[in-house]
Symmetry: C2
Subunit: 527 residues, 2 copies
């Protein structure tokens, strides 16, 4: 079922001679399949067929695109257990997670299908003519969103389904009317090929243009570099490290025609614990933090890697409770030995910084690829002065920072890089007294959480998954939720355009029955 070839549209090609295999971290062995990297010619071909597909794909109706997306979901489900098996073999993640993530992926595809089938997402805006206006007549102007063109999606390491081949970036780009070229993640190239086969089958079943989707294998950086530089590519979606995301951003910015890159990158997701909650509910939150830090071996972009509080006796107790709770949790497998190695190196680097104390360190496991959780503690002063301690450690790891006082706490928040999330743990009304903390945190993050944990990213219209740099490369967009479609579209105006030649979304009669802003009034009525 896995050929190891590249999907260039519906064609399976493998003319190159560079090959690689994926790895099973639970069994600590290579997987059997051999993948052939896409060649320069194959990459060029994928961009060419995608660009050709764009001419007709951009004109598909919302209902046609919805059918395509729903059929992708069905075809993924139709792959059944064999897909879940490959997912587990390539990621070391447990079966339950595989099923849950497949469910989330299906849910995302269907949510975008609903969005485009309904149709109001195009933000249709109509200002009708006023021919007798003085001093100048007003012409008729109508606006709606229009797709940018071919989007390149880089699969993430930690979500082989939900943020990879047919994940949120792909679903939102296809919904927008943009062809997609996936650069599959080398750690789960087999999962990607299987999901790609579902997308290709769905495209054929629903009569989508050839080339609307491609899936390219790559174990190094060359394929991605060529894709981002291809003049036919018009936008990029990426989920991964700051180093990787920034490199793509830089490449895209240097093009003769720069293109937007939405990169969702690093975040240490600060959790601020206010004094009253430390006093009254320390144990509850120590347990919650221990669970959140170790969830999925800490391999979530919203993993709480930083816990901030003003130091007092209660913080000492909390830290001991956190240490105790986290050591009760059995370690679990990381996605790949290379990720595990990075975890060990980074965790060691931070542990050895001046002023840092290790308060909990799990010290053995049954499998060499299992991540051993660790909790450090450090003073506010040492944390403030040492940028190494601000680095993300991808894994089940967190630092408790003991701040001298509220103003040091605020100074620390102000010095943090941009984050996906910030959390405040507080008793009722306690935050009224910590306005400066809440204000500072709000300016550094994309989502602020009250009395909860940052892990768990609900897919819903109000979700923002993104934030100030470097948590994302453009804080003006979200990577999760239906508004993530806005990354791949641009507004477009028709002036004085004949009604019959307008897209249906802008025609007087409103044949789609969508909500539109007509002469400054939001309405579903015809003009």
């Amino acid at each position: 079922m896995i050929t190891g070839k590249n999907y260039i549209g519906s064609q399976l090609l493998a003319s190159g001679d560079k090959t690689f295999k994926t790895f099973n971290p639970q069994l600590n062995i290579e997987n059997p399949w051999q993948f052939t990297e896409a060649t320069a010619d194959e990459i060029k071909l994928a961009a060419t067929v995608a660009n050709k597909a764009f001419l007709s794909f951009q004109k598909c109706t919302g209902k046609e695109k919805a059918l395509f997306l729903r059929t992708i979901a069905e075809e993924i489900l139709a792959l059944g257990d064999s897909l879940l098996d490959v997912y587990c073999q390539e990621s070391g993640l447990p079966r339950g997670r595989a099923e849950g993530e497949r469910g989330r992926t299906i849910g995302q595809l269907n949510a975008f299908a609903d969005l485009v089938a309904e149709g109001s997402w195009v933000e249709a805006t109509i200002d009708t003519a006023i021919p007798d206006r003085v001093p100048l007549p007003k012409v008729d102007i109508r606006k709606m969103m229009r797709p940018l063109g071919t989007v390149v999606v880089f699969g993430s390491s930690n979500f082989p389904f939900a943020y990879s081949t047919a994940g949120g970036d792909t679903a939102s780009a296809l919904a927008a009317g943009c062809p997609v070229i996936v650069k599959s993640h080398p750690m789960h190239a087999g999962t990607s090929e299987m999901v790609a086969s579902a997308v290709v089958k769905a495209a054929q079943k629903t009569n989508m243009p050839e080339g609307v989707f491609s899936n390219l294998n790559s174990s190094g950086i060359e394929v991605g570099v060529q894709l981002v530089q291809d003049p036919l590519v018009k936008a990029v979606g990426f989920t991964g490290s700051i180093k990787g995301g920034r490199a793509l951003y830089d490449l895209a910015a240097k093009r003769p025609e720069p293109i937007p890159v939405f990169a969702e990158m690093g975040s240490i997701n600060p959790v601020v614990i206010l004094p009253e909650v430390l006093k009254q509910n320390s144990e509850k939150w120590a347990g919650a933090c221990a669970g959140s830090v170790t969830l999925g071996a800490g391999q979530f972009c919203t993993n709480p890697g930083l816990i901030l509080a003003v130091k007092d006796e209660n913080l000492k107790v909390f830290t001991e409770q956190l240490a105790s709770e986290i050591l009760k949790i059995a370690p679990s497998c990381m996605l790949n030995p290379s990720i595990h190695l990075n975890y060990k190196v980074n965790n060691q680097e931070l542990s050895s910084q001046i002023g840092v104390q290790v308060v909990a360190a799990y010290d053995e496991s049954e499998n060499p690829n299992y991540a051993l959780q660790k909790i450090l503690t450090v003073s506010g002063k040492d944390f403030l002065e040492n940028p190494v301690l601000h680095k993300e450690v991808f894994g089940p790891f967190s630092i408790v920072v003991q701040c001298e006082n509220e103003s040091e706490l605020v100074a620390i928040i102000n010095k943090l890089e941009g984050q996906l999330t910030g959390t405040i743990l507080a008793e009722d009304n306690e935050i009224d007294n910590f306005e400066s903390v809440v204000d500072a945190l709000g300016n550094r993050v994309g989502r602020i959480i009250f009395n909860g944990m940052p892990t768990g990213v609900e897919v819903c219209p109000a979700m923002v998954h993104g934030g100030p740099y470097p948590s994302s490369s453009d804080s003006r967009f979200t990577a999760v939720g239906i508004d993530s479609i806005k990354r791949w579209v641009r507004p477009f105006s028709y002036q004085n355009w004949p009604d019959a030649q307008l897209p249906e979304a802008l025609q007087n009669e409103n044949p789609l029955g969508i909500s539109r802003l007509v002469n400054n009034v939001q309405t579903n009525n015809p003009v």
Copy 2:
């Protein structure tokens, strides 16, 4: 009334020693006022006070910001004729234009005041909790737009009011809740200082935080470079040349924390004339094109610099009519001798390319700074092969390209760089037969016009002023109309946040009475 100093917040400072003067192109003499360039310390101070102002300005209510914007409009009007005099002295533009542009500027300020006073623009989105959802409870998540931080606005040369100091970029940024630092255009530094005085006065009258607005003088590039590189600056608005806009974009992209730059740059605004209209209405459109090419001495970003048609006898007639019509129009003054010199050099460069014929050239004028209009013609083949002919010539200049056939016409459109506008002149139903032309043009532009001229950019919700690179640096936004506020904001989520501590826009009771998306239904009702 003009001091020549920099406004750093409400302070007038001029500690530097680099000075410059503006120029009156109608009289061909320097203006009397001497301007002192902002120093590195002054620039740093402007960024520091703006950043401090941001902490409180971002919390102003929509009604407070609206009052600020309306008061700016009033204070600009209160400057009366003396402001119009300086505008004319620094731009060479006629009095009627000054009044009209002032009206447009006032209109923009009031439109943004209306927008933020009403309040629904924040896109409030509420997904309420489902505590008993299985397998996992759903938490309450609420989203709204939030300002990015300090915005630097570069004044444009060709709109001393509407796209400069208190123009569209400044009005939209202030409406969003972002402090603004204007780098005034050196050609109209006096106009800018006067308008800045109105903004500063309005800020004081309406109790806005000190530092919410600054206006810096600069005749070179240093001030702008330092501003774009300042870590406290979070976004940039620019209207001007491709060279200038790209330089700022590159600087912003290279920062440790890259920031968004919305640059509205060059465009040659192709006008496609279909065969039937050439046959039936040639004279009418020749007159309209002549008027549009010469309007404002051709100093509009939507000036039609390229006319495309399939060659036949009627195109020959049209070209003769255009030549004849354009020579009937009296030349007018350009903004500055340096712009006039550029016009002469660029126009000469294009006129001397292989295959180019000059069909109309005005050959004398009463003033050395008046632009002499010119029309060239060239074959489709020569145009396609010569990128020099694709360059924008800022001034009253256009090229008529004689295409061999429809497919060459489409090939030319596909080869054009991104444009602000594209125009189709056609008889009724004629465009039905030119789908490939319309499709190609749509993919290259931000606004497509039927039987009209691209000059004249209506300020209304459905307007898109922007387009694929290099007409703008990010086609996902517009520089004109209320949606231009979206350039300066980012979505922000509150998860499980206590109702009383939420911004009013997201509170259950909907105290602002705005339109919100609540559990996927757009409504003004409370939750």
